[in-house]
Amino acid sequence: MEFKRFVVNKLILFFTLSTLITVTVALVGSAFAPDERFGYGTMLLPIKYAALCMLPTFVTFSRRELSPKAMLFRKALMLILIEAVMMIIAFTGPEIDTDRPEVILVIGGCVLVIFVLVHLFLWLKDSAEAKRLTLDLEKFQQLHG
């Protein structure tokens, strides 16, 4: 894949991640610390997390097209690295209460859910594109048939 297209895809992924992390933080936060109040700086946290989680996604970059098996391996590696990044953030930053083990489990689970959701969105995007291509193909065949 050419690098430009790879970067565009990563930008789409970044904004999708930011949205999903914001929703997750809101849901998990209201379940674990519903009375907590934050300053304006907190609003930047999902963007910061999304940006840091973007770094492991570069393991999927390849100039030649990867086989499904190789891509699956790199995606699994990416998930492990994202989990590691989130754990480092949780244990080194002041925002997350890591003394409660259930919080750590929830973070790990949320990363997995977001990972699945992102791939579901990408699948839906490809599915819509495939439908458009099929329609264009039908028109093409009617025109040249």
Partner: protein, 145 residues
């Protein structure tokens, strides 16, 4: 090899005659080129030579340096190289969809999403062919005309 072109007028029979000392690969390629210009390709199946109508070919694949023509129910080996056929069959609505494969756009029934930005072409023969990510743009352009 000398090349001569002779005009036969409106009533004369048109003919391409190759006079050679030996029927080599090169001669077969010239034969294949001339036939493909007329809408058919030479192919060998079960040790017999056939003329395959271009419109009957679903896709063409290169495997281990050999080129095969696939119709709805038969496979033929041809002496032409895939890059030669790509040039030759472009006006006949054939398009490269991956490194080893050309597909007849008129034989695609629908397009579905596949893993990692690729698409799957469902052919009239019931077979499925992977549309590589690198060739999706060319497919879109071809369908838009």
């Amino acid at each position: 090899m000398d090349v001569r072109i002779e005009q036969v007028g409106t009533t004369g029979e048109e003919l391409v005659l190759i006079r050679c000392r030996e029927i080599t690969e090169e001669v077969r390629e010239i034969e294949s080129f001339v036939k493909s210009r007329q809408g058919s390709l030479s192919g060998v199946s079960d040790k017999q030579q056939y003329e395959v109508a271009v419109t009957d070919v679903c896709y063409i694949e290169s495997v281990d340096g050999k080129t095969f023509l696939y119709t709805n129910d038969r496979v033929y080996e041809t002496s032409s190289r895939i890059y030669e056929l790509e040039e030759l069959l472009r006006p006949k609505h054939f398009l490269r969809i991956s490194k080893p494969m050309l597909v007849n756009l008129m034989k695609i029934q629908s397009i579905q999403p596949a893993f990692n930005g690729r698409f799957l072409a469902l052919l009239s023969s019931g077979e499925k062919a992977i549309i590589s990510r690198n060739y999706v743009k060319a497919l879109k352009e071809a369908l838009k005309g």
